[in-house]
């Protein structure tokens, strides 16, 4: 027992008497805590204020167009800045088609990646692979766009579009001249950008499925795939749906990469080879050139619609993911 020796003890005791207790005299004022609480509250309220501000800006600045066209704005195809006739239908159409196309390509890939990482991958490969797919999400949109213009689009023009036209031209989805630039290119680049989101959420919800569920199915003599299908995917499907919807939200709001490859023409065509235009792209291209009040207001109204749709979609996705992962820590194991 290395306690203080009797001699040392009295010396220590002495020093305790000599020093006046250092804090006895210091006053505590509750003012510091009050200021701190208010300051932090103010920061929190800033977040509320920002969303309020966004809604206020979008609503007030779009009122001109809203009063002129009403609900019809979203069903009119005319986009004529010169005569101040505005209808957002081609942008709504382009946004929906490019995003859905992206999901059609991205979802099977993303789920495949998630299944491989969580259920099949050897342990040493798991986290480098997860990290690498998430790296895809860190690349700026403008760099995807750059790459798409100079690598992806020529590839699509020279190989993909002729191939699709030859074999699937009869569907009507793949006809017309192969520009490379157009809806198809936008869909592909969006798919690449959406994969990491969908696959990381899918991974998260799959990891949240309790191990007993897997073992129960394996114990019945199921193969690995049967275990994944009935033990994991079935239990995680609401969450996977949430991940897909979150990916949709990202695709709808994505601006730069799409703007660079979609062709930016407010047209509605059945063929995916044809150029199109999205809601985000039209704002990006025309906002700083919009000269008249009504033109600007129409663009803001497109923004308002985009805002409302993405908010609803994100909320829906969060609820779905939450139904699967609640009760389990968010990053169970990567």
């Amino acid at each position: 027992m290395p306690g203080p020796q009797p001699g040392a003890k009295s010396e220590v005791a002495l020093s305790l008497e000599v020093n006046a207790p250092p804090l006895r005299s210091s006053r505590y004022s509750p003012l510091g805590d009050q200021i701190f609480t208010w300051a932090m509250l103010a920061c929190g309220l800033c977040v509320l204020a920002l969303v309020g501000l966004i809604i206020y800006e979008l609503v007030t600045k779009s009122s001109n167009s809203w009063h002129a066209f009403g609900m019809n704005f979203f069903f009119r195809s005319e986009w004529d800045p010169v005569n101040e006739q505005f209808g957002a239908f081609p942008f709504v159409y382009g946004t929906i088609v490019s995003s859905l196309l992206a999901l059609v390509i991205a979802v099977p890939l993303a789920i495949g990646v998630a299944v491989f990482i969580t259920e099949m991958s050897p342990g040493w490969l798991r986290s480098p692979l997860a990290f690498t797919t998430e790296l895809l999400a860190a690349i700026p949109s403008v760099i995807y766009g750059l790459w798409a213009i100079f690598v992806l689009v020529p590839l699509i023009r020279e190989y993909v579009e002729p191939f699709l036209a030859r074999h699937f031209g009869w569907t009507g989805l793949f006809e017309g001249p192969a520009y490379g630039i157009g809806m198809l290119a936008a869909g592909v680049i969006l798919a690449i950008m959406v994969v990491p989101i969908v696959s990381s959420i899918t991974r998260e919800v799959m990891t949240a499925v309790p191990r007993q569920q897997r073992e129960a199915v394996l114990a019945l003599g199921a193969t690995r795939w049967e275990m994944i299908r009935t033990g994991v995917l079935r239990n995680a499907r609401a969450g996977i749906m949430g991940g897909i919807i979150l990916g949709l939200g990202r695709a709808l709001g994505e601006t730069m990469a799409v703007t660079m490859v979609i062709g930016n023409r407010p047209e509605i065509a059945k063929s995916l080879f044809a150029p199109g235009y999205t809601m985000a792209s039209v704002i990006a291209n025309e906002f700083s050139e919009a000269t008249s009040d009504r033109y600007l207001s129409a663009l803001v109204e497109v923004g308002l619609a985009l805002f409302i749709v993405t908010i609803i979609i994100n909320m829906l996705a969060q609820v779905l993911v939450w139904t699967v992962t609640r009760g389990t820590p968010a990053r169970a194991n990567v």
């Binding site: 027992m1 290395p2 203080p4 040392a8 305790l16 250092p22 804090l23 006895r24 210091s26």
Partner: protein, 252 residues
């Protein structure tokens, strides 16, 4: 030097559930007083009411009167000021993980705006000597983090940290429950020496420990103080049947 503690009709609640009922007791200065009882009896809540730590739990509140020396705890003083005069050691050692050993001991003073470096050095050394940790850590005071020590050392570090603000009372909430027997032995010996200078209130679920370190013992059951007396009396001739049942191991 230690001061006495007078508790009068202390009640405490967690939300709507009452955790303490009309506790009245007088803790003698410069002695160790043990609080025993089965888990959930309110013994931890009781000591946490003495320095108003109880109210840091959401929806928890306390009412009654507690006097520590000349200080009226629940009337006329702020909780923060009370806590500066009452040291507390918790169940699990909780050193500040990002601070060095030195900074851990000095934390109470530094964070309250005391910055006299020479005095701080003195106080840190004295506190670590008082908590019998000095010899083990004097070479790595500023290099090693408090979290790198062993569990028993961490707890003695926490005691040193509490002593550094030179409190009049030291509250210990099951200080040995997370420790091995050897560390427990060291802490008990420490308590034995510290009570010459401080008034100590120690919560324990270990009756032998209460018997070894404390002159007085209070037995709590279901939020009530059943019996409070000299330790020897409690353990040999308790006046209440329930105390006897607990002491002899018939429940709890």
């Amino acid at each position: 030097m230690g001061v006495s503690i007078e508790v009068d009709k202390l009640n405490a609640w967690f939300g709507k559930t009452q955790a303490l009922y009309d506790i009245t007791m007088k803790v003698a200065a410069n002695h160790a007083t043990a609080i025993i009882g089965p888990s959930g009896c309110g013994k931890s809540t009781f000591v946490r009411c003495l320095n108003r730590m109880h109210e840091t739990v959401p929806e928890a509140r306390a009412a009654g009167s507690v006097h520590i020396g000349e200080l009226n705890v629940y009337n006329g003083s702020s909780a923060v000021q009370i806590r500066r005069r009452i040291g507390m050691v918790f169940q699990k050692p909780n050193p500040f993980p990002t601070m060095s050993i030195y900074d851990n001991v000095a934390a109470g003073l530094k964070l309250n705006g005391y910055n006299n470096r020479k005095k701080l050095d003195e106080i840190v050394e004295r506190s670590l000597k008082l908590s019998a940790l000095w010899d083990e850590v004097k070479d790595t005071l500023r290099k090693k983090s408090g979290a790198s020590l062993s569990g028993g050392q961490q707890q003695r570090l926490c005691i040193a940290r509490a002593l550094a603000v030179e409190p009049e009372v030291l509250l210990m909430d099951e200080p040995c429950s997370a420790l091995d027997p050897i560390s427990t032995g060291k802490i008990e010996e420490l308590i034995y020496q510290l009570k010459e200078r401080f008034t100590i209130v120690i919560v324990t679920h270990n009756m032998q420990q209460a018997y070894r370190v404390a002159e007085f013992t209070g037995f709590f059951l279901l939020g009530k103080l059943i019996e409070f007396d000299k330790t020897e009396k409690i353990f040999t001739t308790p006046s209440d049947k329930r105390t006897e049942d607990y002491i002899t191991g018939r429940f709890g």
